[in-house]
Symmetry: C2
Subunit: 712 residues, 2 copies
């Protein structure tokens, strides 16, 4: 660590009005990243961040309002400061790379308020080469035991009117489309109002945005603001001051308004600022993951990344239904539900998916709508919705599990809670014991609806704790979790490696029932939602139109190849193969890529990326020499020149190139070509508008090396 006081002074000069006064600033540098900390003349902690000499975050506010309007943001004196440099490597249970480097320098500050209760506050910064993380720590102390956080005053005073890629700061959903606008233009009111396809929307601050927030400055710097290790605390949103470009923490409130209930010693999540002059660095950053604690699970051998098909897209598109009867009132004289004939989760249909999975080496089959209750599950703030163990009459738990087993296929459980977390918590043990007893090793959870406990929000502290409890309970029963409608992730898959993936964003499903996703959507997600962790985006829709009989105008606004490329660009260790079997069977040559593409990786290279425009990533399959490339573009067709220097020297590879067919109207057209390539080859990916490219690279046999053409 280098403590540079000079640069702190420079910052001071650069920042008129917001003075660093009480002490000289403390500075930590790591590579191009510099962090400055100072108490101002009122004893208020202030921090600033710069990159390569450019100010990224001007001196910004820190601290809290506690309990009944108690000041915990100024009147501080610095008791102690300490720095420490850490260099370590760790091995994730699964991930984008085999091994993760964790190099940072800490600046730990022990502060005490001079008057009143003389309370102690610690602030810990971790400075990385690609950004800064900091958190607050409330040490054990005489005058702070149980307490509440009314407001967190953390600010991010930005330096200009940056371009922002944002969704509204909603307490209950992350399923909005992204808006790209200047900070000065952020106003979510209209978008929130018109997004009637989102079940529950509560966004009282029209200037609030969700994190991860992606920013680009006019001089070409990329800044990402989020949080890491969100445990026992509400999610942080950001209130945007359209005039000053100061972003301030906005914590999701509890049912009684208070944001957080804490007990010292306690810590907040890490507030994260990732910065680079290269967009690709943002996507490669491991800062958020590194700020999370190591795995709490001692035995992780049962955790197996996988792909799955499922009775799902046919439900989304209206081909079949979750429910067994047409309505809760469709009952016969004996009070039994009258089958509508539309139920998707029936034995025959499930077997069809099992057969398909077995035939194509897809590990899992998800069935939604297998358990009773779907006739009346949504929209009424109903508490006792599902019981998670009672199947519909046409779903034979034991027989289907036996059938799946005989075919080497794993069934994936579905637990929709309808937002009634209290009901789910009452039955957690029962539900997970049922999974264990019936051979399910993964569960897709869902929280579609207003939360019960009533007044709580999806992203408040109580629900954050609930999701953690679910992950812990699942681990206890050796079940992997794919969590839908949860708070967006913050890297907790390091700590709970069975908390594999999740939604917390606008997934492919919106193409089924809504206005769909814009061509740029998938080029923004890696810079926003995926910064926190894997996403179950449910890619792989091959039938791009006429999939919804009731609305034949609906179409997926991508090419078919872009859907394939998403398996690489949209990282998830549990990845759905989302379309219907028959739609894959119509394109088995293209489907080969989806069959081949791994879900766990030894290495990842972000080849090219620009938020809102394009993303190109190549990854090396776990324990293999094979590489898989995915590239996608927004509404603009474009060529992406790609070198292959990630390939090992001297090895010839067969590159199977799945490409868009340009200049023709059908986005489902594709070409498949095989070439011999090596690390010196330069490939030009020709992406159609909202198109993509997918390539598998497999070491060539001698015969292949002879027979196949070289790429030119």
């Amino acid at each position: 660590m280098r403590l540079s006081k000079t640069l702190g002074t420079l910052l001071l000069l650069a920042c008129s009005g917001c003075v660093f006064a009480q002490q000289e600033p403390l500075t930590v540098r790591k590579g191009k990243v510099q962090l400055d900390f100072q108490l101002d003349e009122k004893g208020a902690p202030r921090y600033a961040v710069s990159y390569d000499g450019k100010t990224i975050v001007q001196p910004s506010s820190m601290g809290f309002v506690l309990n009944n309007a108690e000041n915990f943001y100024d009147d501080f004196t610095l008791l102690k400061q300490a720095t420490n440099s850490v260099h370590e490597n760790w091995t994730p249970v699964w991930g984008e790379v085999k091994s993760i480097q964790n190099d940072y320098t800490t600046l730990e500050l022990q502060l005490q308020q001079a008057h009143g209760n003389k309370r102690l506050l610690h602030i810990v910064f971790k400075v990385y080469e690609d950004g800064v993380g900091f958190r607050y720590e409330f040490p054990e102390q005489p005058n702070l035991d149980y307490f509440t956080v009314q407001q967190e005053k953390t600010g991010f005073q930005l330096t200009g009117n940056h371009k922002a890629f944002w969704i509204p700061g909603d307490y209950d959903t992350n399923e909005y489309p992204y808006t790209t606008s200047l900070l000065s233009e952020i106003d979510n009111a209209q978008l929130v109002e018109k997004s009637t396809d989102i079940a529950v929307r509560v966004a009282p601050d029209k200037h609030a945005v969700q994190t991860p927030l992606m920013l680009k400055t006019s001089d070409g710097l990329y800044i990402n603001i989020h949080e890491a290790a969100l445990l026992n605390y509400p999610a942080m949103q950001l209130h945007v001051n359209n005039a000053t470009y100061d972003l301030t923490a906005n914590l999701v409130p509890s049912a009684v308004g208070t944001a957080a209930f804490l007990h010292a010693p306690a810590v907040t999540p890490w507030r994260t600022i990732i910065v680079s002059n290269k967009a690709t660095d943002i996507l490669s950053s491991k800062l958020i993951l590194n700020l999370n604690e190591p795995s709490k699970l001692s035995n992780t051998s049962w955790i197996k990344p996988m792909k799955f098909v499922g009775v799902w897209w046919e439900l989304q598109t209206g081909k079949s239904s979750w429910s067994y009867a047409a309505s809760a009132k469709a009952k016969d004289a004996q009070g039994k539900l009258i089958p509508s004939g539309q139920h998707g989760g029936n034995n025959e249909n499930v077997k069809r998916y099992i057969d398909f999975a077995a035939q194509h080496g897809i590990e899992g089959v998800l069935i939604e709508g297998w358990n009773t209750g779907w006739e009346d599950w949504f929209g009424n703030w109903k508490e006792d919705v599902f019981d998670f163990v009672t199947p519909y009459p046409d779903f034979d738990v034991k027989a289907l599990n036996a059938y799946a087993k005989s075919k080497g296929v794993q069934l994936v459980m579905h637990n929709e809670t309808s937002g009634s977390a209290t009901n789910y918590e009452r039955q957690l043990d029962t539900a997970y014991r049922f999974m264990r007893e019936n051979g399910y090793n993964a569960v897709k959870t869902g929280y579609v609806g207003k939360i019960i406990p009533r007044g709580e929000h999806h992203d408040g502290q109580w629900m954050v704790n609930h999701y953690t409890r679910v992950a812990e309970k699942a681990a206890e029963y050796q079940v992997m979790v794919d969590a839908h409608e949860q708070v967006r992730p913050t890297g907790l898959h390091r700590t709970y490696p069975n908390w594999m993936t999740g939604e917390a964003s606008r997934g492919n499903e919106y193409n089924a029932f809504s206005i769909g996703n814009a061509p740029e959507h998938e080029t923004i997600l890696p810079f926003t939602r995926l910064m926190g962790g894997p996403m179950d985006y449910t890619p792989g829709i091959f039938k791009l139109s006429h999939y919804n009989a009731a609305d034949t105008a609906k179409r997926v606004r991508t090419t078919l190849v872009k859907q394939m490329a998403l398996y690489v660009t949209m990282y998830s260790p549990i990845q759905m193969v989302s379309d219907l079997p028959e739609n894959y069977e119509a394109h088995l040559d293209a489907f080969q890529f989806i069959k081949d593409v791994p879900v766990d990786w030894d290495d990842t290279k972000v080849l090219a990326a620009e938020p809102g425009d394009y993303v190109s990533i190549v990854r090396k399959g776990k324990g293999t020499e094979n590489w898989y490339l995915g590239a996608i573009t927004d509404e603009q067709a474009r060529d992406l020149k790609t070198g292959l220097d990630f390939l090992p020297p001297g090895v010839k590879y067969v590159a199977t190139l799945y490409a868009d067919v340009l200049n023709q109207p059908d986005p489902a057209k594709y070409s498949i070509k095989k070439y011999i390539v090596d690390r010196t080859t330069a490939i030009t990916l020709k992406l159609a508008n909202s198109g993509g490219a997918a390539i598998s690279f497999v070491p060539a046999t001698a015969a292949e090396a002879k027979q196949l053409p070289k790429y030119k």
Copy 2:
């Protein structure tokens, strides 16, 4: 049923201003009780009640405000009316009498709103000889499916400025002392503010009172207003109009303000009005119990009324502590709690109670403070407080259970939740399985603290459902429930006969740590709190002063004999024998009555009663020929002349008369005399101020009939 339209007209004449207009009134009479119903000129339902020709409730409002301020209180037309007379008998699993007569006449009204959604509302009255019950039913219908109740408009328009025995309408507690005042004088603000000994107090309406509300008119009628079968609905309090004497329903709100979340078909609890010209009839009424549904439990053989001693009073009085260590921070270097030496729930002490129980034929022993967490359990709205299965190091679950078993004694579980119902619900199965596995057949639950889910109240719908879930879960594991800090009972012990007793009132415990209970307190409780169901008042304190070493001025403001009499006047099938073994050992002759007195009865006669003044009750022990009399008085000494015509003809009884010693300063003095009596004997009970009398009547042997003196 007799439909008398004439009396309706009379009522109309008698009631200027509040007209019955749209249709002629419908009238049902049962004995002296008359119920009138009519739609007024706006189509608003109105009911009125009279007794022996005197109006008790003038035409009063009915109906609801639903959802977003939707009118569901007028615009009604009468679609259909029906009456039915029912005469039945049923046998309670346990109770005050062997068999209960249930004779009533129903008036069922099917109403429909004329405009808008044309919604249907049913109102069902049940008219008894001692009062009226009515409830609202929301039938299945096209325009009312899921809905919320914002406000219930049920009114009780009383006819004068009656004397009322009331506690504040608090959302979270019933533990106030009673105030006796005129309706015009009701204002709870001062009492709520000064009652700092009650953990959680939320009483936003200073004119609201709790039910059961006991009233006495200036012409000597007794009126009791309460509710029956409170399920899936918030508790009803009453807002008192000090000028008009109109009492209106005030439902305890949820965390989001709305009072109730319902789904048609649905019903409200029964609103009950019990009326008589004799106070004793109020105490004998079975109206509330009759309005509850029959037992839901098919097997009730495991339900056993009992008495229990326990590690409890010594905790309340500060002799020992619930906690093992002095504070949560009292830990050694290894992080283990350092025992304070004050822990009451330790093996040796528990054995002492087991030995005492075994020696004196007391069935059970309760131990509070046996499980970890008591160092930091209260006052911080903490969610994860107790785990209900982990004992302190000095409490050996298996060994103590074995020891108790060897002595023929039953241990009673204690589950304090600290108000954190979510935490309890997560662990219900674990907690009750633990009881089952360790031989506990009864649990005392507790809810001391602000409720979690935060924003919910002890008496709101969510908690009402929680208590029901607990009773159902307990039944599943064959565990009896003694519920503390719950919503006050509404006769649900008929439906859930394992939901034996509870607190929901100001018990004897307030004599330990607070200003205590006034001499009249126990003479009011039977007319108020006990109207809904049994109370675990924890009687039997023999050491009436100097029980609290830290505060030697504290004393119980009753005589010793009054404490004995409470076992009869304060009905409960699970009854605590509350004082310390050594205090009973100092008075073994008086203790004999407590040992003898049953907790389950074949018959009960209320001999004399006046709320706030005195209560005298005699009961016949289940399956025996023995009778037990308890009489108590308020601060006034008084003589109560008592005939014994409840005794069977021609049988001589030994009456063992435990009596106060008058005109001397020590309330712990008593006399015990045995007499031969029969049904022709007239006894004069001489009660000291705040005194009592207790008598056991056992058929005399021939020898006794000769040797013992006759009562004169």
